[in-house]
Each structure stands twice: as structure tokens, then as C-alpha cells.
Amino acid sequence: MIKAKNKLGLVFFPAFDWAISPTHPEREERLLYTQDQIFEEGIQDIEGIKFFNPIIADEKDIQRVHFCVPDVKSRVTQSHLISVGGAIKASQSVMEKKVDKSFALVRPPGHHAQRVVYGDRGFCIVNVEAAMLERIRKEYGPLKVAIVDTDCHHGDGTQDIYWNDKNTLFISFHQDGRTLYPGTGFIDEFGGPAAYGYNINIPLPPGTGEEGFIYVLENVVLPILDEYKPDIIINSAGQDNHYTDPITNMNFTAQGYAKLNDRLNPDIAVLEGGYSIEGALPYVNLGIILAMAGIDYSHVHEPDYDKDKLKQPKNITEYIKQVSEIVYNRWKTKDELRLKEFKGLDNVERNRQIYYDTDGILETQSQNFKICKKCSGLNTIKSSCDRGYRIFAITIPKDACSNCIDEGYNLFKNPNGSYTHIYLQDRVNDKYYAK
């Protein structure tokens, strides 16, 4: 029998009794054929691969990351708590050294869920990786973490959550926002004042294939990771860059995904999107599992795989080289760029409109980041939506100085203006308040 080179933990939770709606891409059937493939390949019998059931995340795991409006209970279902719990279980098994790496194949996905949550956007309500990561930071102490988002859609939720956190490097490569939901993820979205340069977007043109993805990995992602030196790497493993995906326009392959995971070498991978449930997911997931376990994946390919047909056109290759160069140069010069962007400011304001496509909600948001010399600075969100909520949310960051802590509590007590709800996230003391 085959033995895994790396001990791999798998949380395989297809949630066969959950769907957004019967014909929605995010439906019961989504991981059915993946399960068939995993079972038929005999993955359960491979020495060194261990299966775990999800635990159920609790309210606090959500509060560490989100302002759910009006509250967690109204927004988050049991299936979301289990999806988060699956990721938590996977990461715990790595932190406790029961396994070397782990892969949580859970659903629903999460990377479009931002800090404020009025409902479902991009099939996501809770940011699974973020809730997982903050839980393990809580349990195992501070960690310097890189999240690499390989979903075809920009990981705008994860970007929002770690926008001003230097200890969480977020790298997303995805189909260019001018051609695909959620329409963000451009090169100049580079992070908040305390973490400028630690949010990296690599928008790729439609039609990018294996060559392009591997080029970006080797010329941008891996060099940046080498310099950043994270304690752990998380792959936000969306699989919709696949050439058969029904809602995107890329040309990535199961082989490509396996190679990517082999070279990226993440400690934890968490499934995100991917809706070619028959033609892609069974093979992509198998490829990722084998790559993470250190097992030969060279025989993994789709039944209709045709190398020549999927060859990336020259002009795309050239374009990707240019994008890569720009992004990497920005990373190298991030400190100068930061000075240019924020010199002399003591506050940075960011105004946005956020559309919840799944639930059809429009949010208007204004964020304020205080620039503090001693810490990454108190920040606040004023937000309202067409459902009648008008909220004020305060975040005291993990490294907050005593001034910022006091200011946070003062703002919670005496806010300026009238709101339907006011929230305080005290990350220093892991305390969460709402009124």
C-alpha cells in the first residue's frame, strides 16, 4: 500500500444535506463526485492520511472576525459553524502535530465574507479561514501567517479582514476584476496604513493557464513568501480557475493545482469555490490531496485533458510577466510607497459600496483607520444598508496600545451619531460587545 511522505489530515465534510437553494451551484451534490473519487482511489487506506470530523465553531469564533448584523445568531447557520469548525479541526491537527499538513474540504465557502456581515455574498457568510486562523492564534499564540488565495475570484472578504494586519500577509491571484465577480482585487489595493504592502493582488487575464499560474507562483508568490517568512502558510483553495468551471474563464488544470500545492507547500488548505463538480473537483481535490501528502500525482488528470488545447497563448504569457514584475516591484518598494501614501496623515478614510449578490443587499460603508505610532491603530466602520440597519463598529486591534484601547471603549460608550447597532471588538482581551 502507498505511504504518505507527509502526514496529512483531511476534514472531508461534503454537507450532503445543505444547499443555498436546490439549483444553486453551492448545493448538496457539489462534493458528491469528489467523494466518489476519493473513495475509489482508496485514500482512506493510505498510511499517513487521517480523516477528522469537523467540530462545531462557537459564536466567539465568529465575533473575533465579523460584525454580524444584527447578531451572529441571525446571520450564521449551523452549517456555517460546521464549515468553520471543519477548518478549525484541520488547523488544530497541524498545530498539535498530529499531522504535518491538513486540508479542510468543507462547504459553504467563506472568502467573500467581509468584516461586516448583513447576509450572503458570493455564496459566503462567514470567512472560514479567518475564523479558523483567529481561533488558532487564540489557542496557540501569535503567528505570522500568509494566506494565499488561489480561488478564481478575488478574496475580497479576506482582504477586508486583514487589510490593516501586518502579521497576516494576504496574497490573492484571480481572474481580473474587470471581467469577473466581485470586481475588485487590483494591484493598488495594497493594505491599510499599518500594513501597507501586506495585501497583494495579482489580477490575471481570462484564459490564463498552467504556465501563467506557475509563473506567478514562482516569480511573485514564492519570492515574497521567502522574504516574509511566515510561521504558517494557508491556501485558500478555490478550484474555479479550472478550464471546465461554468462561472469563470480560466484554463487551469488538476495537474496545475497539484503542482501549485506541491511548490507552495501550504500547512493548511481550505476549500473555497469551484463549481465544475463532475469534470474538475474530483480530479483537482485528488491532486491537491496527493501533492500535500507528498505522493506522486503525475497520473492525476481530467478525463478530457488535452495539453495542446489548453496551451496558454503567447500574448497572455507576456501580459502576466508584466503584471508579475509590477506586483513584485511594489512589494520590494512597499516602505517607500507607504511613506508616499500616508506621510503626515493621522487618519485614513476608506469609503465603499458593497453588494451582497446572493442576498441582494447593498451596503454603504466608511472605514476609518487611525495612524498610531505605538500600535496598528484603532479603526472603526460606519455602515448602513438597504435593510434599514445603520451600524457603528469599533475594532481594537490585537497589538493596541493603552491609548487606543481606552479610545475604543470611550467610542463604544459615547458614539457620535445615532445608530441601530453599535459593536466593539476588543481583540486585546478577546471581548466582544454589542448594543
Partner: protein, 558 residues
């Protein structure tokens, strides 16, 4: 009259049961060099004074196939394997010659690429050159569509060089390609050995004028008729623990979650009941280095029994896992739990010698020989408890795949313990305290395995998949791959599954009235392509569960 025979590594036990009572028993040593002779002479002795025409059925639990595998005396097998894309294939090579062919069928049973007759022809030449006459043909996802296996069989059959051919999809309907390969291999490997044995049995029965039907015990606690066993001899492996399991249930019945223990001289076998139904291995049993798809009762054997040798290591008592010989009180080389029981007067034997054994151990621990026996029995009970807890923990964290199962899934929470074996009576009160559960043991346990074999009924399981988008219904085990209409419902499928599993049990020799058929798993998925529902994908498991022909009339103590 029902005859039951259980062949163990050292002994063969046989019983006659009439009107729910044991009326005769025989115990004989197993002659490893002539297993058939051992069985036959035991049966002859058992039936000597009885009217052979009154025998209703003969149930045998035999180690014929198991021994052949473990001792490597199986026939050489040629393997034709189609592994398609996925894991590398080299590790699947288990036959004496392995030919990997091209072609592929995917997870939905769609033929992606055809097989190549030229490759099969070359395989035939190799097998012919090496005088290999047992063959197994296994293709990935053949349980979803057996087309390639069937076509290849048709081609190779005409060559007339094979005495037997096993097709992967017939060994089990479960998904697990490596196990399907190994199980098919083993089936072909023990084919000749088992068929030799069954021919001998049939001849001898004819000579003696016995015309009762013969059933063979399977590892899942059920039986199959000899004819089926001849086709699927792999199903006869490792039926020993199943006999013991059925024996415990025959003597002590339960409808609850329970722990069953068979504590012998060398080992303790641990089993579980969930609401009175046996707990099975999730996929199948492992034999030698092969993980198989042979359905089996979940059983764990630990090296701890009445005759396990006891040592003191780092100031603590270590019992087992080795048996070095008889108990010290019976002239054996080292102290054993049996000695502790003799010392306490709970078992017959030389008390003085037993205390001598206690003294040897006590000296190393600075404990008086009087205190030693209790300490030993307590340690033994602790070891059993720790192991059972560990296994239960594992069982209760088996992967689940739905929110409902995760939140409300069945957890095994034993309400009682049923024990058989030599030390049962002595250990029962100690285990009762440790587990905080009532412990039951029967008066007579010596022939429990043979009783278990005697009272086992035919069992079977089927795995059905209905794909209404494709308009296909498959039951691999029964070689069913047929068209259905697009409106086929889950109710239709369940009804059909129950009919099929009953029919299958009857083909195994069950009688209509003894069949307890049930659906054990069912699911139905909407298949959506684009924005439209293209069909339903249903998965159903049905089984005829193991059970007893009758409960034994006897007494139990608690």
C-alpha cells in the same frame, strides 16, 4: 437437527443442535497438514450415533482459505488491471503477473477511453507462458459500469486457459479500487484450494448418504451455500471471530448497545453491538497485508488471555501479549492470570504452585503473595477497559458526511457487557465495577464458536446506484446494470433494493421466513446541469442482517 462446526487454529469444535438445545458436542485437535481430514473426522465422530437423514443443514466455519493465504500456498494469479488516471498503479501489483491496460471509465460510469484488445492478447500470452490459470480482471469504477470487465472476460474466456476468472465488480459494490484489486486477487488465489476442499466434502457426504445442504460461515456472521462459496471463496476468510461473535449472541442475547468479549487462553476478542445489531468493518477485513472489501464483523483481538505470561517491568505488572505455555500451576514456564484465579480458589488447579507463581511476582514488587492475585486480575480488567475505551473513541469518531449525522449521529454507548471464555466468570464482577456496566456470562461457553456457526443465517448486502440522468440502475454485486426511466423515484429504488437483497439471500440458501431485509443507507441528490435539474443520483445500501436461526435455550448468570 442443525450441525455447526468451527475450525480454529488449534481445535475443531462441532455441535448438533436439536429443538434449540445442544444435544452433542465434539472437540478435536486441528491437523494443520490436512484440514479436510480434520473436519471430516470431527463430523463423523459427531454424527456417529445420530440419524443423518434428520440433518437440516450443516454450517461450517473453516480456515481453509485463510490458511492458504497466510501460509502462502495459494495458486498463482494473473491480473489484468485498468487503473486510469489517479494514483500511481505500481502498488496494485499483487498477482504473480500483473498487466496494466489502457482505457478508463469515470466516476459516473461514462466510458472515457476504450480498452485495447491488443494489450489483453499480450497479457494472455504472458499468462499462458507462465502456466497461470487463475485470472482476475479489475477496472477502476467498474462498480459504476462493469462494461470493460465483462467485455474483457468474454474475450479471454474463449482462450480456455483459465480455471477461474474473478471480475472486480462482483466482489463488492463499494468504491475502493485498491481493495477491489486485492479482493479479486485473493478470490482467484484461493479458488482452487477451496474448490478442492468443497469437492472432497461433497464426495464424502455422498459416500455417507448425507444430503443436507452445506453452508459456509462468512466473516460478517452470516452464511452462504457451498455453491456460492465455490464462486466467492474469498468470502470464507477470517470467519473465526464471526463464529465467536455469533456464539456469544446465541448464548446471551441483547437489543442494546453492548460490548462483547471472548476471553480465551491467548487472546481477548472484542466486538460491539449497536442496538443489538453487529458493528461491521467500514469497508472490509484485512488479511495478511491485504485490505479487502470482504464484509466482516468489527473485531479487535488483543494479546491478553488466561494463559498470557506475566512480567514485572519498571515496577508494574505486564500481562501478555505472549503466551509462553500453560499456567505455572499446570507446569508452565511463567506466572499467568490463570494462576491468580487458581490461587484465589476461583478455578481448579494446584493452589500451592499458583501461590508460588504469585510469590515470584510479589517479590519483585514487594507485595505479599496474598495481594498479588487481585492486583493481577485488576490489571487485566484495566487493560481490557483501556482498549475498549480506545476502540469506542475511534468508532464514535468515524467520518460522517451530513450535518444531521454530525449533530445527531448514532454514538455507541454500551449498556452492558456479554463475556464468554475461561476467565469470564472470574472477571465479570471486576469488569462490572470498572465499566460500571452489568456483565453477563453463560454457564457453558466451551462450544460457543460451534454454536455460533450452527445458528448463523445467510446474509448479504447490496449497493445500488440509480442515475436517472443517465437512466441507469446498477447493483454491481448482482451484476445488474440496466436501463430505467427518468421518473424513477427513491421509493421505487428502495423497493427494488429490498426485493433484490431478499432474492440474493434466497440464492444463498436462505428461506423466505428467516430473511430480515433492511435499507441501511439511502440518499438522493438532485443533479443540476446549467440551471436545470437533469436527474437524480440515488445511493442505496440494503442488507439481510446477520441473525440466529433460533435462540439457544440455556441459562445465563450475572
Amino acid at each position: 437437527m442443525i450441525v455447526g462446526l468451527d475450525m480454529g487454529g488449534t481445535h475443531i469444535d462441532a455441535v448438533i443442535i436439536k429443538n434449540d438445545k445442544i444435544i452433542n458436542t465434539v472437540k478435536k485437535p486441528t491437523d494443520k497438514d490436512n484440514l479436510f481430514e480434520s473436519i471430516w473426522s470431527t463430523l463423523e465422530e459427531l454424527l456417529k450415533d445420530y440419524n443423518k437423514s434428520k440433518i437440516k443443514r450443516i454450517n461450517l466455519s473453516t480456515t481453509i482459505s485463510t490458511n492458504a493465504i497466510v501460509e502462502n500456498t495459494t495458486s498463482p494469479v494473473g491480473m489484468i488491471i485498468q487503473s486510469g488516471p489517479g494514483l500511481p498503479q505500481d502498488f496494485l501489483a499483487c498477482g504473480d503477473e500483473n498487466v496494466f491496460i489502457s482505457g478508463y471509465i469515470d466516476h459516473r460510469g461514462t466510458v472515457v477511453e476504450n480498452w485495447n484488445p491488443k494489450e489483453v492478447k499480450e497479457a494472455l500470452n504472458i499468462f499462458k507462458d507462465k502456466n497461470i490459470d487463475s485470472l482476475a480482471i479489475v477496472t477502476k469504477f467498474s462498480v459504476r459500469n462493469p462494461k470493460h470487465e465483462l467485455e474483457i472476460k468474454e474475450m479471454v474466456q474463449s482462450s480456455k486457459i483459465f480455471s477461474n476468472i474473478t471480475l472486480g465488480h462482483t466482489v463488492s459494490g463499494k468504491l475502493n479500487f485498491p481493495r477491489r484489486v486485492y479482493t479479486s486477487y485473493l478470490n482467484s488465489a484461493v479458488y482452487d484450494t477451496f474448490n478442492n476442499f468443497s469437492n472432497n466434502i461433497k464426495k464424502s457426504m455422498e459416500r455417507e448418504g448425507i444430503n443436507a445442504p452445506i453452508y459456509i460461515l462468512k466473516a460478517d456472521g452470516g452464511t452462504m451455500n457451498l455453491y456460492t462459496a465455490e464462486e466467492k471463496p474469498v468470502e470464507t476468510i477470517l470467519s473465526g471471530p464471526a463464529a465467536s461473535f455469533m456464539g456469544i449472541n446465541a448464548m446471551l442475547s441483547s437489543n442494546e448497545d453492548a460490548i462483547l468479549l471472548d476471553i480465551g487462553g491467548t487472546t481477548t476478542d472484542i466486538f460491539f453491538l449497536a442496538d443489538g445489531v453487529p458493528l461491521f468493518e467500514p469497508l472490509g477485513i484485512q488479511i495478511d497485508k491485504y485490505k479487502t472489501l470482504v464484509r466482516a464483523i468489527y473485531s479487535i483481538s488483543i494479546g491478553l488471555g488466561g494463559d498470557s505470561s506475566i512480567d514485572i517491568k519498571d515496577g508494574t505488572i505486564k500481562i501478555g501479549p505472549k503466551r509462553k505455555g500453560f499456567a505455572y500451576a499446570y507446569g508452565g514456564p511463567s506466572p499467568t492470570p490463570t494462576d491468580a484465579m487458581i490461587a484465589l480458589g476461583l478455578m481448579e488447579g494446584n493452589k500451592e504452585k499458583a501461590y508460588e507463581a504469585m510469590e515470584i511476582l510479589g517479590n519483585k514488587l514487594n507485595i505479599s503473595k496474598k495481594e498479588m492475585p487481585d492486583l493481577i486480575l485488576n490489571t487485566m480488567a484495566n487493560m481490557i477497559k483501556n482498549k475498549v475505551d480506545e476502540i469506542l473513541n475511534k468508532i464514535n469518531s468515524q467520518p460522517v458526511y451530513t450535518i444531521k449525522e454530525l449533530l445527531y449521529g448514532k454514538q455507541i454507548e454500551p449498556k452492558l457487557i456479554n463475556i464468554i471464555g475461561g476467565p469470564a466468570k472470574v472477571l465479570a464482577p471486576i469488569l462490572e465495577k470498572k465499566f460500571q456496566l452489568p456483565c453477563y456470562y453463560p454457564d457453558k461457553y466451551e462450544v460457543a464458536n460451534a454454536v455460533g456457526a450452527a445458528l448463523a443465517k445467510p446474509t448479504t448486502e447490496i449497493n445500488m446506484l440509480v442515475d436517472t440522468a443517465k437512466g441507469i440502475l446498477t447493483v454491481p454485486e448482482l451484476n445488474i446494470y440496466e436501463k430505467i426511466n427518468k421518473n424513477y423515484t427513491l421509493e421505487d429504488a428502495k423497493k427494488r433494493a429490498l426485493e433484490l437483497v431478499k432474492k440474493s439471500a434466497i440464492n444463498l440458501g436462505a428461506t423466505e421466513e428467516e430473511i430480515e431485509a433492511e435499507i441501511t443507507e439511502e440518499s438522493s441528490f438532485n443533479m443540476v446541469r446549467g440551471f436545470f435539474t437533469s436527474g437524480k443520483n440515488m445511493r442505496i445500501k440494503a442488507q439481510v442482517k446477520p441473525g440466529l436461526i433460533c435462540d439457544l435455550r440455556g441459562d445465563s448468570n450475572d
